[in-house]
């Protein structure tokens, strides 16, 4: 038996091709949306991987440092370093901000996560794991290492608050959980940038302090200067990253920190849970809603197209039924056409998504598993969508071919 569906598709290939391309673009958008979600999850995973930490020590009862703000004294690391099972510790600060280039001109702005790291701690937790160009930060001030997604070049000069930094190294795939590229600077600079007030605010603050008789006692020389110094400097960090010794269970190190140091400590699994289940949960639901709507739109389009194509063949279907064609043969013809349309749509969609994914500003991760699930979903949608047309075709009265 010849394939009626195949012959019809070959006969009207232009109509099928254009319809398939239209459907394919929708499928491509759907696959890309899934890729955006995968990219967000991967960004979160990469953030944790690249931090090189096994434990995150943060302010008590906070979800810091990525999901909530957290502030710890910057000497906290000393007491943690001495605990049994700890291999390395490092202070770290994170702040997301607009970073502007000052040279070369014209200036360009990039939204980036500025990460404060210890300048002399290559290999410490929090440091970029590898560079693709240049060198690591070696000076305590005014040097920066940038992710290549910032599109900064070696030697570029960038402004963060009042200070200008020289890009001395470039790294890759170091991004925040929101997908913003990272810019590493010495931690002292980052601390200053995080809490620095503007000059007017400093002047007003000094004035208020000087007028306070408790803080400006004539009989206590140096008190006012000491108080002002504490007000204009920052001795806080957002978190302490901890690497445990090989073979040591991270939870056994975390327990005494929680108990005796009164900090909140997250293991890698807990931090991953915070990032994925809490930080990007709303975005994931948003994308999920888009996927549902896109699937419904795709189904409606396939149903409409197959129904229209079938209605255009009512007379032929009546003739086929009159001359003895079984209902299942006619149903199979319509179903095969719907599936054919689905295959064309999926191939076009997969190719489209692969082509345009690199041009998205955020990371889009197209996984083969998602493509397989997408293919199955498209086929199921086509099967469901063809039901209406099949029902209409089976209702066609063979007597219509005779007329009268």
């Amino acid at each position: 038996m010849i394939s009626l569906a195949g012959r019809d598709i070959l006969h009207a290939w232009g109509k099928f091709a254009f319809t398939g391309v239209g459907l394919g673009l929708l499928v491509g958008v759907t696959l890309t949306m899934a890729g955006v979600y995968r990219g967000m999850v991967d960004d979160a995973r990469v953030l944790l991987d690249n931090s090189g930490a096994d434990l995150w020590v943060v302010q008590q009862d906070t979800l810091g440092p990525y999901a909530e703000s957290s502030s710890l004294p910057d000497d906290t690391w000393r007491s943690i370093r001495n605990l049994h099972g700890v291999a390395r510790v490092a202070n770290v600060t994170y702040l997301t901000m607009q970073v502007r280039t000052v040279a070369p001109t014209p200036p360009r702005e990039v939204r980036a996560m500025v990460v404060g790291i210890s300048a002399d701690g290559v290999g410490q937790p929090g440091h970029p794991g590898y560079l693709v160009a240049g060198r690591h930060i070696t000076r305590s001030h005014y040097e920066a290492v940038a992710d290549i997604a910032t599109r900064f070049q070696l030697g570029d000069r960038v402004r963060i608050r009042r200070n200008v930094y020289t890009v001395v190294g470039l790294t890759r795939r170091m991004v925040s959980s929101g997908g913003d590229p990272m810019l590493f600077v010495p931690i002292k600079d980052a601390q200053a940038a995080q809490f620095l007030k503007d000059n007017d605010a400093l002047l007003r603050s000094r004035g208020r302090t000087a007028q306070n008789p408790t803080l400006n006692r004539p009989g206590v020389p140096g008190l006012l200067e000491a108080v002002l110094a504490t007000q204009t400097s920052n001795s806080s960090v957002n978190a302490v990253l901890v690497q445990v010794e090989a073979g040591t269970d991270a939870e056994t190190v975390a327990a005494p920190i929680r108990r005796w140091k009164r900090f909140t400590v997250y293991t890698r699994a807990q931090m991953q849970e915070i990032l994925i289940a809490k930080l990007i949960a709303t975005s994931a639901r948003q994308i999920g809603m888009f996927l549902v709507i896109l699937a419904a739109v795709s189904a409606a389009i396939v149903a409409f197209i197959i129904y229209t194509l079938t209605m255009g063949k009512i007379r032929e279907i009546a003739v086929l039924k009159l001359i003895g064609t079984r209902n299942r043969t006619i149903a199979a013809m319509i179903l095969q056409q719907a599936l054919g349309l689905g295959v064309i749509g999926f191939v076009v969609g997969k190719i489209s998504a692969t082509v345009w994914a690199p041009y998205f500003p955020k990371y889009v991760l197209l996984e083969p598993g998602d493509a397989l699930r997408g293919f199955i979903a498209v086929m199921l949608i086509c099967i469901v969508a063809s039901a209406l047309a099949i029902q209409a075709a089976l209702k066609v009265d063979p007597a219509e071919a005779i007329g009268g």
């Binding site: 010849i2 009626l4 009207a12 001359i323 003895g324 007597a399 005779i402 007329g403 009268g404």
Partner: protein, 240 residues
């Protein structure tokens, strides 16, 4: 057995068809009697609304009569109720249809349009195509075997439709105004072919027509009016 069936043709007794019920009921057929012998082509003529199409649909087993008896190819298919379980197979194997327009399947070439019926009956593609080509040669359209229907002239399309109706060698062919879209010359050519095929394959053919050009060619004519038929001898004018 198939040859024996073909010896018999069409026999109808007291066929009735009522549409609707109660006050709105309409009797489209009020006791039609008709006999068509194998190898014979008879005309069925009548004004619009006289019941021609209803009779054709009853004979074609696409609507169920209300009463009466129908025998096709020696087999009683209706006797105050269907006597055949699979009407679809009955239409496929025992009845050939020719329509006012050819209604060829637009996405199949000429050969496959004709070969589709034996394929549906379970014959192999090769055998079905061989049967189709034989008929296309007999009808002088074999040279268009690979053409698509849209590439054929009206006369060629109607000859392909005739080949499709004949390919399963049915004992009965029902033709619904087969010459309506054709000019006189082509219309007569179609009737000539129907007569030749009826004799060659011992097929009983009923031609429903309004076409004044071809009415004189029938040996016998059934007039249908208000759901009743009466028979008269046709002119039976020779073609050549």
């Amino acid at each position: 057995m198939a040859d024996l069936d073909r010896q018999r043709g069409i026999h109808i007794e007291g066929l009735r068809k009522r549409y609707g019920q109660g006050d709105t009921a309409v009797d489209a057929l009020k006791g039609v009697d008709m006999t068509v012998a194998p190898g014979e082509v008879v005309g069925l003529i009548g004004p619009s609304g006289s019941g021609k199409s209803t009779l054709l649909k009853c004979l074609g087993a696409v609507i169920e009569p209300s009463a009466g008896r129908m025998t096709l190819g020696g087999e009683t298919i209706y006797d105050d109720g269907w006597r055949i379980h699979d009407l679809r197979a009955l239409r496929r194997d025992k009845i050939g249809f020719i329509f006012q327009a050819p209604y060829l399947i637009p996405f199949l070439d000429v050969t496959d349009n004709v070969a589709l019926l034996p394929m549906l009956a379970g014959r192999s593609n090769a055998e079905s195509r061989r049967m189709a080509l034989e008929l296309l040669q007999a009808l002088d359209v074999a040279h268009r075997a690979k053409a698509m229907p849209s590439q054929l002239s009206g006369g060629e399309q109607q000859r392909v439709a005739i080949a499709r109706a004949l390919v399963s060698r049915p004992p009965v062919i029902l033709a619904d105004e087969p010459t309506a879209p054709l000019d006189s010359e082509r219309a007569l050519a179609v009737v000539r072919i129907l007569n030749r095929m009826a004799q060659q394959f011992a097929t009983a053919i009923i031609v429903v027509t309004h076409d004044e050009k071809i009415i004189p060619t029938f040996q016998r004519i059934y007039h249908i009016r208000d759901g009743r038929t009466h028979e008269e001898a046709g002119a039976g004018r020779a073609f050549d």
